[in-house]
Structure formats: structure tokens, C-alpha cells
């Protein structure tokens, strides 16, 4: 990933191909890349664990339920907050928590990208990232406005 890693030390990237230059920038880039990668791995791993636990709980308690999804009859309407509220009440609730953790992982990454741009005082990209984050949060919480 090249870039919140683009450091102030990086020359404007309009120079012709120049193999192997910018060692300082590369080191900085690598740091940020590594921490973003760790974040992604951690978020996904956490979600996977919750999904496994939720599925196990569900199979132990509700395995005889007859499921039918041929017609679209929503049973679990409600956004993130309602999922958090019901996470510990049943296997299905815990499974949905795992699903929400998955959805939150890329959003969290955008948030950390914003922090990286803020640290670098890269205001143009701070604004760009805030717009992306705003639209994402609108999707997550502003859905009521869409109904």
C-alpha cells in the first residue's frame, strides 16, 4: 500500500522511474502497511472466532429448527446497535455479532487511514477520508433515513 505512508520526505512523484530510491519513505511505508495488515488480520480473526462460537451455540441449542428462506420475510431487522443488544441472548445473536464485526473491520481500517493522514497533516486526504468514512457511517447508522 503506498500511502498514508507517503512521508513528507518523499519527493513529488513526478520523477521518471528511479529504481531503489527513497529508502526512508519505504521504511515508513512498511511500518504503516504492517500495522494496517495486523489490524485487518486481527479484526478478521476476532470475527471468525465469534462466528465459530455463535454457530456452535446455535447447533447445540437450535439444531432442530426448520429454516426456510425461499420468501423474503425479514426476521432480524435492526442495525448495529440492536445486534449488540441481542448478541448474548442466543446462538443466532452471537452469529450476527460476528457478521457485524466483519462489516466493521474495513470501516475501522478507513478510520486508521484517517488517523495516518492526520498525523502527516495531509489535509487534502484527511478531507477525502472523512467523506468516505461519513458515507460508510451513513450506511451503517443512517439507514432509517432510507426507509
Amino acid at each position: 500500500m503506498s500511502t498514508p505512508g507517503n512521508t513528507p520526505t518523499t519527493p513529488p512523484r513526478s520523477s521518471p522511474p528511479s529504481p531503489g530510491n527513497q529508502p526512508g519513505a519505504t521504511v515508513h511505508k512498511k511500518d504503516l502497511e504492517a500495522s494496517l495488515a495486523t489490524l485487518l488480520t486481527a479484526g478478521t480473526a476476532l470475527a471468525a472466532v465469534v462466528l465459530v462460537l455463535g454457530i456452535a451455540w446455535y447447533l447445540l441449542r437450535d439444531s432442530a429448527t426448520v429454516l426456510q428462506f425461499a420468501t423474503f420475510e425479514p426476521r432480524t431487522k435492526g442495525g448495529v446497535l440492536s445486534v449488540l443488544r441481542h448478541a448474548w441472548s442466543s446462538g443466532a445473536g452471537l452469529m450476527q455479532l460476528g457478521v457485524v464485526l466483519l462489516i466493521l473491520t474495513p470501516i475501522t481500517r478507513v478510520f486508521f487511514t484517517l488517523v495516518a493522514f492526520l498525523i502527516k497533516r495531509d489535509w487534502m486526504y484527511v478531507v477525502v477520508t472523512i467523506i468516505v468514512l461519513g458515507v460508510l457511517l451513513y450506511g451503517l447508522f443512517g439507514e432509517a433515513a432510507l426507509e
Partner: protein, 278 residues
């Protein structure tokens, strides 16, 4: 079918879908929607919701690996995400007003395009070193690692890329796929990023795009835990396994088999749409 069988079979099927999706570069969504609709009798709305969650899972899993390698252009990614997430929200709103049949037909179109792109990977374009005003303003030009060290590249046609990305976001939300094909097309063909930078940046963007519409669908009740949880878990495990195996096998024959299956699934979906079963 009782819940335990339904969930275990879904896990297994999604594992296979994630595995094949990673090996062929098509991603999981293109496989998961037809598997859910055709094999498990799941309504298109639920299938799209579950598939989007699986797309996020596989994208985050794979992106963690790519991001370390230093190919992804974050500036290009985040700038174009303005277009993809807006497109995704628009797509999710539109999805509330169109029929399952319409969604199925758009999906089949995406399916056929994916199959075609898998079989006919585009020829590499020569790098374009002409400077571009917008790219300069947003400092999009960057470098990427090659065998000969870091190589600089220039980015072009940002507005065209933005329009295509809006479309990619809309398609992703409407039919529950990652739209990686559209994203790579926009970056590689139109904006002239190096192919490897295009694919990894696309992967970086896919999860964020899908998260925008998944939030809307969650609220609307299109994300059922009994479907989404096993599908996401299976697809994640399958795609990680696929990424492990990928460097060690030849994928050409596999691509043909896969494209064949995808086309078959598309035709079967069309048959159902025409037969009024959808």
C-alpha cells in the same frame, strides 16, 4: 432441511466457493449467490446480503497479505472509494425498489463478464509516462516493487475511473459481488496503473465498498445470521486455503472448468427468471 444440516452444508459449500474464488481470481461473491439461490433455495435478497458479508471477509483476509507486499496504492484507493461507497449506497437504495428478477438478470450479466475476464486476461499495457493534472493535484503517482527494484508509475483519467468506480459500487450493492473485475478494469485499462497495483488496490477497496451496502442491508433484514455466518466463515477459510495453494498449482484448466460452471449457473438463473420462479 433442519438448521444443523443447513448450516453445516452452507459452511462446506462456501468453503468450496471461497477456495475456487481465490484460485481463479474471481472472488467469492460470484459463486456464493448462485450456490445459495440454486442449491439452497434461498431468496435472492438474503443471498445478496450474505454474499456481501462473505465478500468483506475474503477481502479483509486477502488484503492483509497483499498490504504487506507494498503494491497497494492507498491514495488511489481512498480517493476512488469516495465513488465506490457512494455508488454502493445508491445501489442499496435502488435495490429496495427493483424486483428479484431484475437483480437476477443484472447478476447474470456480472457473471458472464466475470467468466469472460477469467478466460481472457487483458494483455499488459505499456506504462504511460505523460503527466496528468488531476493525478498531480491528488499526488496519485507512486512506485511499486518489481524484480528490478522500485519502479515509478503515473496515474491517468481519474474522472473516468471515478465514474466506473461509482458503477462498480452500485453493481456490488445490487447483486452482492465485490465487483473486482470492474475495479481492475477501471484502474488497469483506464487509469493505467500497473496490473499488480490494480488488483491489490481493488482488493483493498472491495471490503470497504461492500461494508457500505452491508450496513444498509443489515438494517433492512437482508442479513440473516443463519445464512450469513456460515457463508462468511466458510468463504473466509476457503479463500485463505486457496491463497496458500495458488502459487503451487496450474490454474488454466481450473479457470475453464470454473468459467463453465459460472456460465451454467447463469443460464440456470435465467431459466428460472423466465419460468417465473423468481
Amino acid at each position: 432441511m433442519t438448521a444443523s444440516w443447513f448450516i453445516l452444508l452452507l459452511c462446506a459449500a462456501s468453503l468450496g466457493a471461497g477456495f475456487l474464488g481465490a484460485l481463479t481470481g474471481l472472488g467469492g461473491g460470484v459463486v456464493i449467490v448462485p450456490v445459495l439461490v440454486l442449491l439452497f433455495g434461498v431468496n435472492m435478497r438474503f443471498a445478496v446480503g450474505a454474499s456481501l458479508v462473505a465478500v468483506i471477509a475474503t477481502s479483509s483476509g486477502a488484503a492483509a497479505a497483499y498490504v504487506r507486499e507494498g503494491f497497494t496504492n492507498i491514495r488511489v484507493g481512498i480517493l476512488l472509494e469516495v465513488a465506490t461507497v457512494t455508488g454502493a449506497i445508491a445501489g442499496a437504495i435502488i435495490a429496495g425498489y427493483v424486483s428479484n428478477r431484475t437483480i437476477a438478470i443484472i447478476f447474470v450479466f456480472a457473471l458472464f463478464w466475470s467468466a469472460y475476464a477469467t478466460l481472457r486476461p487483458p494483455k499488459p499495457l505499456p506504462p504511460d509516462q505523460e503527466p496528468d493534472a488531476i493525478s498531480k493535484k491528488f499526488r496519485l503517482d507512486s512506485t511499486y516493487p518489481t524484480k528490478e527494484g522500485m519502479v515509478a508509475y503515473k496515474v491517468h483519467h481519474v474522472p473516468v475511473g471515478g465514474v466506473l468506480m461509482f458503477g462498480a459500487g452500485m453493481l456490488s450493492a445490487l447483486v452482492g459481488v465485490g465487483s473486482g473485475i470492474v475495479k481492475v478494469f477501471a484502474m488497469d485499462r483506464m487509469m493505467r496503473l500497473p496490473f499488480k497495483v490494480s488488483t491489490t488496490t481493488s482488493n483493498f477497496m472491495i471490503g470497504v465498498t461492500a461494508a457500505a451496502s452491508a450496513g444498509v442491508y443489515l438494517h433492512r433484514g437482508q442479513v440473516e445470521p443463519e445464512i450469513a455466518a456460515p457463508v462468511a466463515l466458510g468463504a473466509l477459510a476457503g479463500s485463505l486455503a486457496g491463497a496458500r495453494v495458488l502459487p503451487r498449482i496450474k490454474t488454466k484448466a481450473l479457470r475453464w472448468v470454473f468459467a463453465g460452471l459460472v456460465v451454467f449457473a447463469g443460464l440456470e438463473l435465467l431459466r428460472r427468471v423466465w419460468g417465473g420462479a423468481m
